[in-house]
Symmetry: C2
Subunit: 205 residues, 2 copies
């Protein structure tokens, strides 16, 4: 049980971005609560992304389709924002899908509305900037684990820093996300249970 699950959207956003009450009200007046079943697509390949989603309950994934196979780009859980930023920003056709991995309840913010709000309220534009900042820092970190770490190290990095990923995402789904074959992850997992190799991840960066 997530202890914030009983908080209102207003309280959640406020915890993340410290907006004044009037700005918050302005922002949230535009948000639309929707509920989608497992497997539904919030964005398809070639569509232009027009919204950003805040997950109330459930989980989403973004994935490419490469020669018929799914390549997972990202997983999103409760109290996080999800979207295709490239498509949203550039108003270009999306290269990937956004899918609900389970029954998911989420708040939808439309870009058009947000841009209008940016014009009305400096504080909301500042919120937009800070939201981007957070997404960027996360993105950067994820990008770097591929350069810095071997497959084995990548798995351990995730296990250490994002253990909930291993809890909520199947190994098969994880494999494309980490750029490691399913079988290899299975072997990595076994070897780290049997032998006590837990010192690998001491490197700090």
């Amino acid at each position: 049980m997530n202890h914030t699950s009983s908080l209102s959207l207003k309280e959640k956003i406020n915890r993340l971005f410290f907006l004044s009450t009037p700005s918050l009200d302005l922002l949230l007046a535009e948000a639309q609560l929707i509920s989608v079943p497992k497997g539904s697509l919030l964005l398809k390949e070639r569509q232009t992304c027009r919204s950003i989603y805040f997950i109330e309950r459930g989980q989403l994934r973004t994935y490419y389709n490469k020669n018929g196979k799914d390549i997972n780009i990202n997983f999103y859980f409760e109290n996080n924002f999800a979207t295709n930023l490239k498509s949203l920003i550039e108003e270009s056709p999306s290269a990937f899908y956004i899918e609900a991995m389970e029954h998911t309840r989420l708040w939808k913010f439309d870009k058009e509305q947000l841009l209008r709000l940016y014009g009305q309220s400096k504080e909301i534009e500042s919120f937009g900037r800070r939201l981007l900042e957070k997404l960027l820092v996360k993105q950067e970190e994820h990008s770097n684990i591929f350069k810095l770490y071997s497959p084995k190290e990548r798995y351990h990095y995730i296990a250490k820093h994002y253990p909930h990923l291993l809890q909520r995402v199947s190994l098969s789904q994880l494999s494309s996300y980490l750029g490691i074959s399913r079988e290899t992850i299975s072997r990595i997992r076994r070897s780290s249970v049997t032998s006590g190799e837990w010192s690998v991840m001491n490197a700090r960066w």
Copy 2:
């Protein structure tokens, strides 16, 4: 020869972000032109990054030091902004270095000044947001080539979409950036010259 090299900073920024003249003047009044020799470090590991740099002439790289070896994260050329966003945003110690790869002339914008300007001018905060957007889209793209492509495909992707990287960065420097050993890149290069394998990169995403 870059045809924009004779443009003023004002004209360059304006081309990228379409700011009004008053806002541009406000923004550029704070910029400081500095010149650094090859090998100098604009940011060291453990330092907190306080500036963002716009490259007038020359090139920068960002890199981690992993067990004594350099792992390149990014290369930056003329008319681009460079910084360590994580450190800058979070005011946290940097995990990596920023180094001038050749004698470089650049404009320095301090975070403190920028934040002050954000408060003064909505248009400048909007500029800040749009700058982040551009950086984010780039970052996302780079991150995804690791998940989507094998080493061989990564090299070809760069060769096709960022040929200037191959021109200006040595293969040795490139190797850690692509997460491929120098020798393997050398082999990839050889095999793609001899055999006519140029259809690999037709996949669009």
